[in-house]
Symmetry: C2
Subunit: 439 residues, 2 copies
């Protein structure tokens, strides 16, 4: 194995440029650690003229990444273009079909076509590696696929989107509303002009779909994931969370339950003392509960050209050394269909914030409606609202005061039905806020 591994890089954005630079600068060190020389022999990107600060002398240029994938001068293709379909998919398929291992950071592609691509890689006896597709520089894929191969995973939960964690961290620390922090994050380059994909939870869902497949040996099924984003979180929720001993994080959670494997993305109250609650800013984290190991938590940079390039290099090292593993830990034909219970069957504790009209009967309504569904309350916090602080409420114009409830474990169906009944009783000024609690 002293023949060099010849790498074709499709996509020269931040990660691609970092990768080409690192491979050039550290050729000798990588050669020692990967067991054979590795070198970039071909690249492809949209604009050949663009100055990326890279020395591409001696490297073949392809306008078409599919042609790069088929080139006889390339042994292994690194796909860094992005996009669930189109050229990215064609390039990966062409490489695998040509018997070339592929490294990709493309979570959208894997979330949509991951099962078929894994089968294609196996049929051609090559590797499909994607450490960079989930949690940036954190070696979460290798941990799940190799380190925990002797375990039965019960639960995997992660802070998988740095933009959301950055926004929630600043909202908490500075008491600012979502819109203000989002605008600032966009200005600073931490959020896209159209932030929906991040703040809506869709990016987290793509990554969760991949983790869930590795965790449970199930076929990827991203469409079945329950998704809520962070736009509804108010500074008041973050203050109340703090007071009650929690932090709010956008988590992707995949969990083995009595009714199947839950996969869900939503803002989550996590105990302040938990490892995952300490993760602030753009940092990511993945926490895995498994038998026999117990709980492992991996924390690190979730994005950025260099951190992501580190994961691509890890994958390239494995390919250079000849390490062979099925994409999702077990052969594609052995992946089971994920039995995903409906969200209504989810069981857990809930944080409920109600905007209660300050008049007789409201408290009785809430207590009765919860009791009717056997929902027990762990805490109730009622505050005089800011507006009513120095005024005497008049019966004709009852002001709304926030009331926060923390429930013991109940079902999503029960809490939703109870809240619907509370709303119908007419004491509530606006739709309730509901945040799930993870212990």
């Amino acid at each position: 194995m002293t023949e060099p591994l010849r790498i074709g890089v499709a996509g020269l954005g931040t990660v691609g440029a970092s990768l080409v630079r690192l491979l050039a600068e550290n050729a000798a060190a990588y050669g020692r650690r990967f067991g054979r020389p590795v070198k970039v022999t071909a690249v492809s990107a949209r604009d050949k003229a663009k100055d990326r600060g890279l020395d591409l002398a001696g490297i073949l240029w392809f306008d078409d990444p599919v042609a790069l994938a088929k080139s006889p001068d390339v042994d292994c293709v690194v796909e860094l273009m992005g996009g669930a379909d189109g050229k990215a998919k064609e390039t990966v398929e062409a490489a695998l079909a040509a018997g070339k291992s592929v490294v990709t950071a493309n979570k959208a592609l894997l979330a949509k076509h991951g099962n078929a691509l894994a089968a294609l890689a196996e049929a051609n006896k090559v590797q499909l590696n994607f450490e960079a597709a989930v949690a940036g520089g954190i070696p979460a894929i290798k941990a799940m696929r190799e380190s925990l191969a002797g375990n039965r995973v019960e639960r995997v939960a992660g802070i998988l989107n740095g933009t959301c964690n950055y926004i929630l961290s600043r909202m908490e620390l500075e008491g600012l509303p979502f819109e203000a922090v989002l605008a600032d994050a966009q200005r600073l380059g931490y959020a896209e002009a159209d932030p929906t994909f991040d703040v809506g939870g869709f990016d987290t869902a793509h990554k969760l779909a991949i983790l869930a497949s590795l965790a449970f040996g199930t076929a990827i099924d991203a469409d079945a994931i329950y998704i809520e984003g962070i736009a509804s979180i108010a500074p008041l929720d973050l203050r109340m969370a703090d007071e009650l001993g929690y932090r709010i994080k956008l988590l992707g959670v995949a969990e083995r339950t009595a009714t199947g494997i839950e996969q869900r993305v939503h803002p989550t109250m996590v105990p302040k003392t938990s490892a995952i609650a300490q993760v602030m800013g753009v940092t990511n984290a993945v926490s895995i509960l498994a038998e026999p190991v117990g709980e492992l938590t991996l924390v690190g940079p979730g994005a950025g050209g260099n951190a992501t390039a580190s994961s691509v290099l890890s994958d390239l090292g494995d390919i250079a050394r000849g390490t062979r593993l099925p994409a999702y830990g077990v052969a594609a034909r052995d992946l089971e269909a994920a039995e995903q219970p409906p969200m209504q069957r989810h069981e857990g504790g809930y944080y409920v914030r109600l905007s209660v009209l300050d008049r007789p009967g409201a408290a009785a309504s809430i207590a009765t409606r919860m009791a009717e569904r056997q929902i027990s309350l762990e805490s109730i916090v009622q505050r005089k609202s800011a507006q009513t602080k120095d005024t005497t409420p008049r019966a004709s114009e009852a002001p709304a005061v926030p009331v926060v409830l923390i429930t013991y474990a109940t079902t999503e169906a029960a809490i939703r039905a109870a809240l619907k009944a509370v709303m119908a009783d007419g004491h509530i000024a606006e739709p309730p806020q509901l945040i799930r609690i993870e212990r």
Copy 2:
């Protein structure tokens, strides 16, 4: 590769018994994930008659583990006996020499003979895997050896001994002295009858030696590690740390500095907001700072039969799949001699607690002696001591009051010289407490 991997387990203590049980119970799942069947064909332990709750029917018994290592019915040897020399070493050597891959959890063996054993494994083209030797169930070895293969490590620091972290955590949370918590830990089975190996920092040093080799591509040199244990930590130090925004942890730190690669084990003040400060009780953590990835922190169970068995299974999976890697990431012949600067050249901040005789001149002595060595102080905290709270000090019997200093970065040589001079000035009642700070 559908031939089963036949495993010989030498040592049936907690980890060995867990491993044999897990391999029997999960044969089908491991077969799928490891790419071929794995089964225990031979075991060895001291006492054949002992009831371990294991079904050993159909498994060969060896009184002599070296004979097990040489058995034609064994492809791969798992060494779980422990001990830096003697039968453990003989067994591992015999297996490697016979062309069999070895999995070991034996950090003492690796810390002492790791270089020679790695060379022996390479000469025989077999694997020497030891995920379980460092930080129990945390996949720290795989992370360093494979995931970070494209990185240049700057620093690795870890909470690597659960006994010490348990003792420090309880001292902090309950305000108890070291001796009281140690006694309780011994009663609960968290500390050995002779606790020196753990609380003296030696166990941490063995693990650090292995991590440092992986981090820096250097030959293992455990004898050169600077070691301080936790017996000198007082409840007052933990209270002062808390007040100043720190926690005290026993860390193993290996770090690239201008003068070489520092390797040291000592109680350390870490900022309360750091990931490693959150790690309480018997949990372990490894934090790695590397280029290009940035900082990764891995947290999980550091000991226990099941957690450790998980790491052994990870190693076995790699061997079953045919994954090939040098023990320390690069070929044994490429490991460089570690250039270890003397501790006197260490640079960093220091926490100093002085027991100052409460009389004129003491403050001036401290300030002058620090200034003479260009040591700048970040904080000074002086408290009236508990004994003097309600009494008027008499000149003839000056009581001692604790004075705590936090210095900016200085050298070990400078702070030690300054403290020696302060002592010589005669205002100090007892030897100073000195704890290094890591940011």
